[in-house]
Symmetry: D4
């Protein structure tokens, strides 16, 4: 059975691709999942259900449609990688981390040293803190391949 | 049995006091809990266990000591109020929200309209969004006192 | 410790009062809980959080505020009484029954014979079907007082 | 692994077929499940276990046989679609919604605007409200196919 | 907080009284609970809900009313004592044992050596096997009082 | 995915074979599981771990080895069939029923009318009561094949 | 409500007394629990149930009687302190740590630096590592008293 | 579906190989899993995330990376074999046993008679105690193959 990894957080750099490609290059049997990472599509996820006059309700509908997918992939995953970039609030990534922690799903955070203090609670419940996609690939290789 | 409310998030304004005082003035039977809100004490929570050379491990130890208290009060609470101010990252508040969501603990978010878009996933799993402590007091009064 | 009974459903007749009074007359040590049963207050539960242009979102906000209370009392109860009257859709009562069933909370339905067929799935997961508040009082007396 | 969707509720229009056909036309990898939707067969589900003198017990036996199937497909599903038509009580649909809510299974309601107020508690715990099978297909396409 | 002990099984000898009296004599702070042990009352538990033509449905209704009480006390107990006498089938006692085992509630069986082989699965999941109420009192004294 | 059915209880008649053959003849996609049904093998399950001087410990060891298999198949099953014959105590069958009930696993009892009263608690938590393997096959056909 | 702390592990030094006294001196509202710490009594916990010819079964019976108490206090505790001394195997302490970890109960380990490497898995799942009872008292004071 | 067995504990003898080979020779359909058993690789599991100045944090990081794998295989397994050798503390093996016990995962211990007393709590929650890999193979053959 393939090992299942959920990739959560930042959508503005290619960290997901680096991890997926790195694991593929190493021949690892891993199924990756993500929330929808197309920003416009994600913001518009609920639009097909009818237009809204206020920003709050448009966001609300889209967030709940997106949550259908996110909840499922978190429940099915063996491990989550939670990525925090150096811009934006990224509260959804911290939310996913808390969700994983409460379900007992192990997760690894991926972020620069500069934001270590602000992320101390999120890191405190993580199994590991990585600073580069290459480190994540190395950990995944170790976990799934080492005898 | 007293209704138990966990107050999570921002520690730089007096929103906790406003809610607690408002509920007391209305004679509500509510037990409030919080993480340690003294900033210095919180950052130093793990210092008594020995000094650390790196910022990461000092933070790590303190975060995990604080988590002992936070996990317990979340598990015991009937409702959480999760507050986001207009400054700082406040990832711990979003983490708490995700933790509550996964455990099926209802929560109310408390924040300004300006950050609605950034908080859409956190609001999407909330039972309500309030913009002032007075609204929270009104909801708490309704929930615990209305026939 | 008092036995805890959640009274769910119809708010247009005095069935709650009959059960509560009957149990009190028999000296039973029972704590009763309910959703807010004041119809106008219940529909307006979310109004303090801001006005809404559409009926759907006004209802949505109020329903989620009411759910804060309902989830808590269901989780704390030992038994639920689910009442279906002869008018209205009362989907919230059937929803509560399903919620109880999934949590393993025992419940008794209270309704006339005329709607037996329409309620067969709800009755199928119930521990008993009663047709009068007096029968419920008799069952509660038996459960809590019989040696 | 195929995404699993449980279709609950009304059996008098072809909404199930529309959703299943729509998803098939879009090439989605989805496994659909339902309660038995043949009305006569469903009402007679328990008849092979012996005849009953009363309507209540005939219904009771059939409802409990049907529940064997329903419980299993709810527990296995990733998402439920709960349909309310404009006729009948459809308490079983609301019961399924409550059951899903308590298990943390996301669901989408599918119903006309006319019954929004009566369904506010059921919609309040839903991830989305759709008014047409086409919208459900669009959401399912988004959830399972969008990058 | 008092230690809570559920006493399940045989109702034809005074083993419950012996245990309760023994613990009282030793000054133990224990709350005991039981199913209804009055045989006629127990068989008639559902009669107030209407007469039945068949033995099966009369038994069924009473069993489900009794289960309301039994489920609650099992969920609240810290320990169950499951007693098997030398007469009757006592399948309800074995059912309670299986129920406890699945919930992770520890239980002690109380029965003669003569039926050891027939009870091997029930004993296999028990924390202890006692042959006399006095032994049960001794164990309870040890568990609750020993430093 | 095949529907999984656990067959529990009596090992002295061929009811298992009748059900398995009946389902096969109907082309149902069902995986059946059982405890070990070879009586001598079952009693000797723990013998390879060393001889015991007392009947109790020999039984104990074998029962716990058998429980490894039984727990797994109960946890994996969608439905259990619990069979009570007219001889022996069969406490293990009632134990399995209680175990299923606590886990929310639906089960059908299979027994003659003569023992209805003694089995009322076990039947009270069952989804159905059948008196012949043919009825069980009919229910299984309905659950897995009916549109 | 008092904070509940379970004290697990070594019984040959007075670390329990130091913690309990320290908390008392600081006026903390904490309820402490332990397994039976009288070595002879603990080893003899099952003796009242009959003598055994082999060491294994004597130990087995006593261990299972002791487990009745231990399981209950772990399930009821808010925090566990797990103490490893410099002698003996103390596998029961590591067992308790694993049990807590799987239940999501936070625990603090208490041991010397000399055994850090051997305890890395146990420390890895802990919320903190302390080397003296005084540190534990300081953490408990912080968790329960700090504003 | 293959039966899944987790092999936990001692890494200095070839007991894993003996069990795996024995099961293969018997044609059993079993998937085995383990923590990483290469001692140096295991101790260095976290090194790729950055060097540490202290032994404690190096161990900590590696232990938590290893726990990612261990948690997953425990959650997926049907049975664990927990091996204790005659050297070293092996607290991780006892930790795994406690983790399994709390999750309701059955396990078999594998150790010599000499350490029976020290392992009484671990054995007390086990389904069986074996002294040789050959016995484990015999049990696995029985559990998975016996009719």
């Amino acid at each position: 059975m393939a090992y299942r990894v959920y990739l959560s957080g930042e959508i503005h750099t290619d960290w997901r691709d680096q991890i997926i490609r790195g694991c593929k290059d190493s021949g690892l049997d891993i199924e990756f999942s993500s929330a929808v990472t197309n920003h416009e599509a994600s913001d518009a996820a609920g639009d097909c259900l009818g237009e809204e006059g206020s920003q709050f309700w448009r966001d609300h509908k889209s967030a709940k449609v997106n949550a259908i997918r996110i909840q499922t992939v978190i429940k099915h995953c063996d491990l989550a990688i939670i990525r925090f970039g150096d811009k934006y609030k990224q509260w959804n990534a911290a939310f996913d981390a808390g969700y994983c922690a409460a379900l007992g799903k192990p997760y690894i955070t991926l972020h620069d040293e500069a934001i270590v203090h602000a992320l101390k609670e999120v890191d405190g419940a993580a199994q590991a803190w990585a600073t580069s996609p290459a480190q994540v690939v190395e950990i995944l290789t170790y976990i799934t391949n080492q005898a």
